[in-house]
Symmetry: C2
Subunit: 114 residues, 2 copies
DNA sequence: TTCTATATCTTCGACATCGTCTATCTAATC
DNA sequence: GATTAGATAGACGATGTCGAAGATATAGAA
């Protein structure tokens, strides 16, 4: 119960792990949307990022202004060591649970469950 | 947003998929606890089962009395078709997100992230 | 037999945390 | 100032979790 990640928190953390330290709200949002096919709202991403940071699982820094049209400076996020640990635990739990699923449920593999 | 499973709901659904139709509160609880190493409370499992059933993702039936010492009759649960679909979607999302993670983060595989 | 004790298993109620949306605010460049 | 990209706020329903209370079966005592 303490330290367990929510579904969306896990997704954000993975996106963060994949994108280097240049990740920021918008890039994370579109990455998740693209890969999962869901339509993710920016607000949801920022709120989650904010909570993740409060828990010390991610760190942020304000980026420099860019040469593009308009826009506020980006806030870059990167996964922290504690975040990597939490993500690892979460994925490991999933892996332990799904391990051997195809044996009990023959259709699992065919259905794309693993 | 509609239809997405929470972290724990996913775990319960997987346990349900693994155990046949004889699954019931206690067996699900200990299965999850054993495999993930977390200490799961029975109440949490039942509440989740209840919500999952309300959403039509699992079905239940009351079992017959057993020849064991004491106890109330078991309530058996089994994953419904809609539940299989939801679980599949959830796992697929995770898979899409983690796919290729080891390329960006070389240590991922070694760390057991996949 | 009937009553109690006891072992299981399930339901309740409350409350913290997470998920999400819509609206609003900032700060860049043109 | 107009416009555009990005970040923050606030609210509220959904989930996660616990601890305690309720129900019901068998075993054994009276």
């Amino acid at each position: 119960m303490p330290g367990t990640l929510g579904e969306f928190e896990t997704l954000v953390l993975i996106a963060l792990a994949r994108q280097g330290s240049d990740a920021y709200g918008v890039s994370l949002c579109s990455d998740i949307a693209d890969r999962t096919g869901r339509d993710v709202s920016l607000g949801a991403v920022y709120k989650t990022l904010e909570r993740l940071e409060a828990k010390g699982l991610v760190a942020s820094r304000i980026g420099a202004p860019t040469a593009e049209r308009g826009g506020r400076r980006k806030k870059h996020f990167k996964i922290a060591a504690a975040g990597e640990r939490a993500l690892m635990d979460s994925l490991n739990a999933l892996r332990s649970m799904t391990e051997g699923l195809e044996a009990t449920l023959p259709g699992a593999k065919a259905k794309g469950w693993l």
